[in-house]
C-alpha cells in the first residue's frame, strides 16, 4: 500500500464516564482545517459503553463520520482493551492522520499504538498544519516544544502512515457547533484477544471535584512563590471571586504542598488560555510560561523588575502583591457595585 492510499483525518474522541472531553471537540476543530486542506474527511472514533447516542454531537462539531465501538469491555479506559479496538479500526480503515488528546489516556494509548503500527508519533503538539514536500505530497507538520519549552521543533513522518500526534487540551480551538449537521455513523465490532487483558481495574478513586477545571476558566488569578502560603492564596481567591474567575498556581507552590496539582499551570501541569491571566508573585520559569503565554491578556505583579514573567505580560506592575491584590479587590468590588 502506498502513502497516498492512506486517507482521512481521524480523531480519537476521548470520553470519561460517558462524557466526551473538551479536547475531543478541540481536535475536531483542527482536524476540520487539516481535512479541508487535504480534500479528505474528518472521522471521529467514539469508544466506550453506552455512548452510541452521542455520535451526533461529534458530527455537529465537525466530524463527517463517527466510528462507534459501544461495548462493556470499554466502559473504563484500560490500555490493552482500547489499544486493541483502535488498532483494529486503524488497520481496517488506513487513516492518513490520527490525533489524540495529550491526556493520561491519549499519552498512554498513542505510543502503544505507534509501536504496534510502526508509525511516527509526535507528542504534545501546539501547532499542526499540512504542507507539500519536495514530491508535492501533502504531509503533516507537527510543531511542539522541546527542552522544557526552550526550543520548538517541527516533526514530520516522511515514509510511514498514519501520521500521528497528541495535542494538549486547551491548545486548539473548537469550531462553532452546527446543530443538525449531517454525517455518517458507523458501528465497529472489534475482535478482542482477552488473553492479553492482564490489567484489572480494582477501583477508581475520584479526585476531590470541588475544584473546577482551570483549563476551562475565562479568568485565572495565579500565584507563585511570592504568595508565600495559604493565607496569601486567600487574597488571590478574593480577587478571583470579584472577577468571577478561579485560582491557579505555579509548580513551586504545588511542590511545597500549598496548592493541589489540579491547579498547576505549566509544562508539567495544565495549559491554559483564559481571557485574563493575573500572575502574582510568579517569576516566570520557561516551564510556567509554556503553559500560559497564549492567554489573551496577561497582568503580572512581581517585586523583581527583572522577573522573566514581565517578558510575556501585557501589563507589568513592579510591586508587592500582598498590598496591591487586596487594594485591587476592594477597588473592583466598588466598581462592580456601581
Amino acid at each position: 500500500m502506498e502513502k497516498k492510499d492512506y486517507k482521512n483525518v481521524f480523531v480519537f474522541a476521548e470520553q470519561r464516564e460517558g462524557v466526551i472531553q473538551s479536547v475531543a471537540f478541540e481536535l475536531l476543530g483542527k482536524a476540520r482545517d487539516l481535512a479541508d486542506d487535504l480534500g479528505q474527511k474528518v472521522v471521529a472514533l467514539l469508544l466506550g459503553s453506552g455512548i452510541k447516542d452521542q455520535a451526533q454531537t461529534l458530527i455537529e462539531f465537525g466530524a463527517d463520520e463517527v466510528i462507534v465501538v459501544d461495548t462493556p469491555e470499554l466502559k473504563d479506559y484500560l490500555s490493552e482493551q482500547y489499544s486493541q479496538a483502535v488498532y483494529q479500526i486503524i488497520d481496517d480503515r488506513k487513516p492518513n492522520i490520527v490525533l489524540y488528546g495529550a491526556t493520561t489516556i491519549g499519552r498512554d494509548m498513542a505510543p502503544r499504538l505507534a509501536s504496534r503500527l510502526k508509525a511516527g508519533l509526535t507528542a504534545d503538539c501546539t501547532k499542526l498544519e499540512v504542507k507539500p514536500n519536495k514530491e508535492e505530497e501533502l504531509e503533516l507538520h507537527s510543531t511542539r516544544p522541546a527542552f522544557g519549552g526552550n526550543l520548538m521543533a517541527t516533526i514530520v513522518c516522511p515514509n510511514t502512515r498514519p501520521q500521528m500526534s497528541t495535542v494538549r487540551p486547551g491548545v486548539m480551538q473548537k469550531m462553532q457547533r452546527q446543530p443538525g449537521r449531517q454525517g455518517v455513523v458507523t458501528e465497529f465490532t472489534p475482535i478482542f484477544d482477552t488473553s492479553k487483558f492482564k490489567v484489572k481495574l480494582v477501583e477508581t478513586i475520584k479526585a476531590d471535584k470541588q475544584m473546577a477545571d482551570i483549563s476551562e476558566a475565562k479568568i485565572l488569578v495565579s500565584g507563585g512563590r511570592g504568595v508565600h502560603n495559604r493565607e496569601g492564596f486567600d487574597k488571590l481567591q478574593a480577587l478571583a471571586d470579584v472577577l468571577g474567575g478561579q485560582v491557579a498556581s505555579s509548580r513551586a507552590m504545588v511542590d511545597n504542598g500549598v496548592m493541589p496539582h489540579e491547579c498547576q499551570v505549566g509544562q508539567t501541569g495544565k495549559t491554559v488560555r483564559p481571557n485574563l491571566y493575573v500572575a502574582c508573585g510568579i517569576s516566570g520559569a520557561i516551564q510556567h510560561l509554556a503553559g500560559m503565554e497564549e492567554s489573551d491578556f496577561i497582568i503580572a505583579i512581581n517585586k523583581d523588575k527583572f522577573a522573566p514573567i514581565f517578558s510575556v505580560a501585557d501589563l507589568g506592575i513592579v510591586g508587592d502583591l500582598h498590598k496591591i491584590v487586596p487594594m485591587l479587590t476592594e477597588r473592583l468590588r466598588k466598581e462592580m457595585e456601581q
Partner: protein, 260 residues
C-alpha cells in the same frame, strides 16, 4: 525478583538559557542529570528491593558520558548497570530507542520493567509504552504507588487528571512512574566509593536481540524537519509606581479590554 530500570541522562532543562542575540540554546555549563522521573523509578525499584528482595539492573542508551549517571544509580543501590552505546543507535527517535531497549531487555532476565513517565529534554512520555508494546507486556503509566501482593500480582496506583485508578496486574509488566511520588534516596558514602570500583557494562548493538536495520535513524519514522527558538512576544508595558497608581492602571486596562 529481577527488576530492570530504564534511566536517561538529560541536560537540566531548568538551567538552559537562550542566547538573546543568536536565539539558540546555550548548552555550555548546563549540568547533566539523571532524568527525575527515571530517578523516581529507580527509587521504586530500590524500595521493592528493600521490602521483598530484588535484583535491580539499570539500563540506559546514550553516549559514553552516561557512565557517571549509571555509577550514581549503583551508588544509590542498583546491582548492575548496562549502557547501550553504539554509533548504530545514533539519530533514534522514540520508536527506534524503545526498539533498541527492547532488544536489550530480551536478553536479560526480568519480572518487572520500570521507566520514568517522561524525560525532561523531550517530554514525550512515549518510550515506556512503546517499549512495553515491543516486548508484548502490559503497561501501567503515571504510577504513584506499586506493591507486591501475596498472590504475586502487583497492585498499582495510576494517577489521572480527575481520578486515581487502582489496578491489579498479573505477570510481567512495565510501569512508568512519576518523580513526585518517589522521593529518591541519597547515594550512600560507601556506595559512592564502591561505585567507582564497579563495572558499568558498555554494550554495542551486536550484543542485543534486534534487527540492526531498525535501529537509529533508519528505524525512526519521525524526522525533525526544523527546530527554532520560540517566537518572543512583543514585550508589554512595565510600571514601577505606587500601589494606588498600580490599582488604577489595572482597573483602566481591564475596562479597556472589556473584562469588567
Amino acid at each position: 525478583m529481577n527488576i530492570i530500570v530504564c534511566i536517561k541522562q538529560v541536560p537540566d532543562t531548568t538551567e538552559i538559557k537562550i542566547d538573546p542575540v543568536k536565539g539558540t540554546l546555550i548548552r555550555e555549563g548546563v549540568p547533566s542529570i539523571m532524568n527525575p522521573d527515571d530517578k523516581g523509578g529507580l527509587e521504586l525499584a530500590l524500595q521493592m528491593k528493600d521490602k521483598v528482595g530484588a535484583n535491580v539492573t539499570v539500563i540506559s542508551m546514550g553516549p559514553p558520558q552516561a557512565d557517571v549517571m549509571l555509577r550514581e544509580a549503583l551508588a544509590m543501590g542498583a546491582d548492575r548497570a548496562i549502557l547501550l552505546s553504539d554509533r548504530k543507535f545514533a539519530g533514534a527517535d522514540t520508536l527506534a530507542t524503545s526498539y533498541a531497549l527492547s532488544g536489550l531487555c530480551r536478553v536479560l532476565d526480568y519480572d518487572l520493567i520500570i521507566a520514568g513517565r517522561q524525560a525532561i529534554d523531550g517530554d514525550t512520555a512515549q518510550v515506556g509504552p512503546e517499549l512495553a508494546e515491543h516486548l508484548n507486556l502490559p503497561q501501567i503509566t503515571y504510577v504513584t504507588d506499586a506493591k507486591l501482593l501475596d498472590n504475586g500480582n502487583l497492585l498499582v496506583h495510576k494517577e489521572n487528571e480527575d481520578s486515581v485508578q487502582v489496578l491489579e496486574v498479573e505477570g510481567k509488566c512495565l510501569l512508568t512512574v512519576l518523580a513526585s511520588a518517589f522521593e529518591p534516596r541519597y547515594m550512600s558514602v560507601s556506595g559512592i566509593v564502591e561505585a567507582y570500583d564497579r563495572e558499568v557494562e558498555v554494550w554495542s548493538a551486536d550484543k542485543i536481540d534486534v534487527d540492526e536495520g531498525k535501529l537509529g535513524l533508519a528505524g525512526s519514522p519521525t524526522k525533525v524537519f526544523q527546530s527554532f527558538p520560540k517566537a518572543m512576544k512583543a514585550p508589554g508595558e512595565v510600571h514601577e509606581v505606587s500601589e494606588e497608581e498600580a490599582v488604577e492602571l489595572i482597573v483602566s486596562k481591564l475596562k479597556e479590554k472589556h473584562i469588567i
